[in-house]
């Protein structure tokens, strides 16, 4: 059963060095599912694991299972470009993402797990007059919401990130940029592993290689799920299945406004430190940062059609690389090492759905689209609150599924685009 994990420290590192690091205890258990749980989370990615963690920690619900089709963090949590920021336009999103960013700042300490959160700043570059106006509007919106944001002119951009091409003779010259200094990157796998370890220590069962095949409903209440490992009963079920949310929703006849599409990313060969921030451009669709290993991490766009294949078109990658090379001509001869795709669930207003449904005890957390990673802890925090109290948290109340009927959409296409 769930043994209390030993605290990681410099002393445990030294101690384990004497036994050639062969005696570390597993970070989490792999139990067989019990017959019944107080709550079940479908999806063992970052958002699902944080939901289980905060259900146990903030709401004292310990008898929880996280059901994962593959392995934890093997979906979009392990496939994104790890950018974290909160410079969203509208109050609703700004509050949600800023809450998440504050949780990121204390995460490594809280989890006793180094998630390598690095507040290296995120720069959103403007290339046209419209960009300048739009980004300045967002800069002011951020300041009104107490989110740190600065405006940099072309010279300041060059000073902050010397490798960028600020020539005014290129097709899309750099006219300025916004900078959020508290934004940055983190080690994505460590986030999943840290929360899995933390949740497991509080008694959460993490069940991998277990696919949900049906959700059982009786008289408008959920009663449990059917899985490839048998029937598991529960009166509260939270679905955090990202690209596969519609597949789960279709089991119970819930209609979601989502389209699942491939989103690609790629990394280059490792080089010495050359870019110490994250540079994003919506207009030419490029964003790039450098990992601690020295690889350039580059994010491409989504394909324009529904697909669950976890691979996208080469033309999408080509477009992104073209833009990156114009902005950073010195990257032009670098070799790309790896390239992959993830399936993102895109909402019409580019905002998530964290909501109750018309079925009692069934909750959905989906629609994060191309930018869910940055919200990982905040998403779990508010979703755990929603599941525990059967009422949304103030932060996720605006992200109700009913907004598509009422018309209260949170249109974040400007802030959500590109940076994933």
């Amino acid at each position: 059963m769930n043994k209390k994990p030993k605290k990681y420290s410099v002393f445990s590192l030294i101690k384990n060095a004497f036994s050639y690091h062969e005696n570390w205890q597993p970070a989490w258990d792999s139990p067989e599912p019990k017959k019944e749980y107080e709550a079940i989370i479908i999806g063992g990615g970052g958002h699902g694991l944080t939901t289980a963690y905060y259900l146990a920690k903030n709401h004292n619900i310990k008898n929880i299972a996280v059901i994962e089709k593959g392995w934890i963090g093997g979906g979009n949590t392990g496939r994104n470009t790890t950018i974290i920021r909160s410079n969203y336009l509208w109050d609703q999103s700004a509050a949600l993402y800023e809450h998440a960013l504050k949780l990121w700042e204390g995460m490594s300490q809280e989890l006793n797990y180094n998630v390598m959160f690095s507040q290296r700043g995120v720069m959103n570059v403007a290339h046209t007059l419209h960009d300048v106006r739009e980004l300045k509007r967002r800069w002011h919106a951020n300041r009104l919401n107490d989110i740190d944001c600065e405006w940099l002119n072309t010279q300041q951009v060059k000073k902050f990130c010397p490798v960028i091409n600020t020539s005014q003779n290129i097709r899309y010259p750099v006219l300025g940029a916004t900078l959020q200094r508290r934004a940055g990157t983190a080690r994505h796998d460590a986030v999943a592993w840290g929360y899995a370890r933390g949740a497991n220590a509080m008694g959460v069962d993490i069940i991998q290689n277990c696919e949900v095949t049906n959700i059982n409903i009786k008289e408008g209440n959920v009663t449990g799920i059917e899985t490839t490992k048998g029937l598991i009963k529960s009166k509260k079920i939270g679905v955090v299945a990202a690209g596969h949310s519609s597949v789960i929703a279709n089991m119970v006849g819930i209609r979601l406004p989502l389209e699942s599409r491939p989103l690609q990313a790629l990394v280059s060969e490792p080089v010495k430190p050359i870019i110490d921030t994250v540079v994003m451009s919506n207009t030419i669709h490029a964003y790039v940062s450098q990992s601690d290993k020295g690889e350039l991490v580059i994010g491409a766009g989504t394909d324009g059609y529904t697909s669950y294949t976890q691979r996208g078109g080469f033309n999408i990658v080509e477009d992104t690389i073209t833009a990156v090379v114009e902005l950073f001509p010195l990257f032009s001869r670098m070799k790309m090492l790896r390239h992959w795709g993830g399936i993102v669930d895109i909402c019409p207003d580019a905002s998530p759905i964290v909501s109750k449904t018309h079925i009692n005890g069934l909750y959905f957390n989906c629609g994060w689209g191309t930018g869910g990673f940055k919200a990982t802890p905040g998403s779990g925090w508010v979703f755990a609150h929603t599941i525990a109290n059967d009422e949304p948290h103030a932060l996720n109340a605006p992200f109700n599924i009913n907004r598509f009927s009422s018309g209260e959409l949170v249109d974040e296409h400007g802030a959500a685009a590109v940076a994933h």
Partner: protein, 118 residues
């Protein structure tokens, strides 16, 4: 990434085309009487199927004409292409064995020949 056999131009790369989303969504006949929920359903809600999906495509960088495509979204295999206005064909496709299951081959460069209606 795959090839699409445009009924008018022949087999071309997918990047020449634009996907128009789910096919056979009919605009409500009595818009004045619709509730907000019914409008939301028509405007926003989608099946987003993993498996055999019916969708509209436009050859935007070619003949610029619309047509319907039956595609397996789990493999990107195109099973049938038919004209706008035709009824959705009955297709027994190679659906994933379990709802979220993965096919053996993730994606293929399959294409299909266009069958003209008599």
């Amino acid at each position: 990434m795959f090839l699409i056999n445009c009924p008018h131009c022949g087999e071309r790369d997918q990047s020449e085309f634009n996907c128009g989303g789910e096919a056979h969504i009919v605009r409500p006949k009595n818009p004045l009487n619709l509730t907000d929920d019914q409008w939301a359903d028509y405007l926003f809600m989608r099946k987003n199927i993993k498996g055999i999906q019916f969708e509209r495509w436009n050859h935007s960088n070619g003949c610029r004409r619309w047509f319907n495509v039956v595609r397996n979204t789990a493999t990107d295999e195109i099973l049938k292409i038919y004209n706008i206005g035709e009824k959705a064909p009955q297709i027994e496709g190679n659906n994933p064995k379990t709802p979220s299951g993965e096919p053996i081959i993730g994606s293929g460069n399959y294409s299909t020949s266009f069958e003209k209606k008599q």
